[in-house]
Amino acid sequence: MKKFVNEVDSMLREALSGLIEAHPQLLRVEFEPTFVARREGGANKVALISGGGSGHEPLHAGFVGRGMLDAACPGQVFTSPTPDQMLAAAAAVDTGRGVLFIVKNYAGDGMNFQMAAEMLETGNATVLVNDDVAVENSTHTTGRRGVAGTLVVEKMVGALAEQGATLAECKALGDRVNAATASMGVAFTSCTVPAAGRPTFDIGPDEIEIGVGIHGEPGRRRAAHMPADEIVRTLLDAILGDLKPQAGRQLLLHVNGFGGTPLMELYLLHHAAGRRLKAEGLAPVRSLVGNYTTSLEMAGASLTVTLLDDELLALWDAPVHTAALRW
């Protein structure tokens, strides 16, 4: 395993220290328990807290700042954070208007955040993000995963919270954005969890994993490598099949790299996806292309589509100032 690392056990702490040192005006970090929060708090607003296993950077700590999150709780690599982290973060950023947890739908994240919510004495609510259409949804199972669409939820709810909305309004918007958002991804390589020291899965030089998540877990099926346009068709068929947008509908198109795919290819995917969406009579009016919800150094990418209306468009366009997203 070749990584920039001193001791595997201190990796997360060193990386978070580096993040904070690179953004001293913007962010602060606490350890024991670990969370990252805005340097300047204080605004009288609903506090947005997210978190999850590390290894998805810049998600979530890179999205802490004005117009987005108030705090992020990073767990060990691919391991949900623990409830004491959420409680400490909440104590640090709650202004009395309540706390909204934005949680990717995994067994571990769900349970850890839920235990924190149960222990928390102030008003709180939780938005569960489950945008990954590679997984079938069902109330009898863990259900769909939260993947790159989480960024869209965090951005839009972040903008609403900044405007002074109530906890109930933020929670309702989060659920609404989540319902309007669908994602699916494909991987070319596995990633290597530092503590494990070897790739999570083996994959041949001409194989791809379709319907992967963001933890190096295998996808829904393995296929032979195919042209970009065909990959895009596979992903968008599933996404549009889920969202069923009406003709003419305005969309946000987010091309997310998993970490090991060059930006050039992500832009190529954006071109292919945009062409396909337009051919379906849809209007991709906003775009985000880059490595935002990563899976360590995994090569691959996901497409995310969010159905827009005037409110969501305005919330997307609202100013944001975080380490990884700024406009």
Binding site: S80, D84, M111, N112, E136, H140, T200, H215, G216, E217
Partner: protein, 210 residues
């Protein structure tokens, strides 16, 4: 039982988990995200450090402390589940200075119930519950029957082993392996393996003439 037994069990479990590193680790790489072994090892390490602190406590309080410590240490899916187990055991044994086997079995069952409600899962979903539920039932039955300790331990370990193996043929409906659909078939659930290793290790410490 005495708190000293808990400490011995912690030591035995830690050693057994380390001895099974490669299998536990590769199971979670195959149908999970590869961190389960590390999560469990982190839990074991912190419990080893806790031995001095729990030694003077009655078993119920010791379990409660173990549960709270694990809750802020393990993380992932296994963290809240394993913690809930110990916290519930602690509650069940509250005020009992030296629980007998029936009380212990009832506490174990309470722990398993806590996992079920925390994880919203039950038998047959390819999770650690597929080992814990049958083991808990057997433990209660044998404890009530007053089975001799060596026989009880042997049977529990066998029950854990059998049910751990049985997760191989299941599809998962809970946890990370549920994302894989049919592809999870053919792989043992990592959490079940961990529970089996832990149960077998504890049984081993008890089987020996004390």
């Amino acid at each position: 039982m005495k708190t000293q037994h808990i400490i011995e069990a912690v030591e035995a479990v830690q050693a057994a988990i380390l001895a099974n590193e490669s299998q536990i680790e590769s199971l979670d790489r195959a149908i999970g995200d590869g961190d389960h072994f590390i999560n469990v090892r982190r839990g074991c390490e912190v419990l080893m450090g806790l031995r001095g602190e729990i030694a003077p406590l009655p078993p119920g309080e010791a379990f409660g402390k173990i549960g709270m410590k694990l809750l802020s240490t393990i993380g992932g899916a296994s963290g809240p589940l394993i913690s809930s187990f110990f916290i519930a055991m602690g509650k069940s044994l509250a005020g009992i200075a030296e629980p007998d086997r029936v009380q212990f079995a009832a506490a174990f069952a309470a722990g398993v119930e806590a996992i079920k409600s925390r994880g919203k899962a039950d038998l047959g979903e390819k999770t650690m519950l597929d080992v814990l539920i049958p083991v808990s039932r057997l433990l209660q039955r044998l404890a009530e029957q007053g089975a001799p300790l060596p026989a009880l331990c042997g049977q529990l370990a066998a029950e854990a082993h059998r049910n751990m193996l049985a997760t191989r043929d299941m599809t998962a409906t809970k946890g990370r392996a549920s994302f894989l659909g049919e592809r999870a078939i053919g792989h043992i659930d990592p959490g079940s393996k961990t529970c089996e290793v832990a149960i077998a290790a504890v049984c081993d410490t008890l089987k020996e003439p004390a």
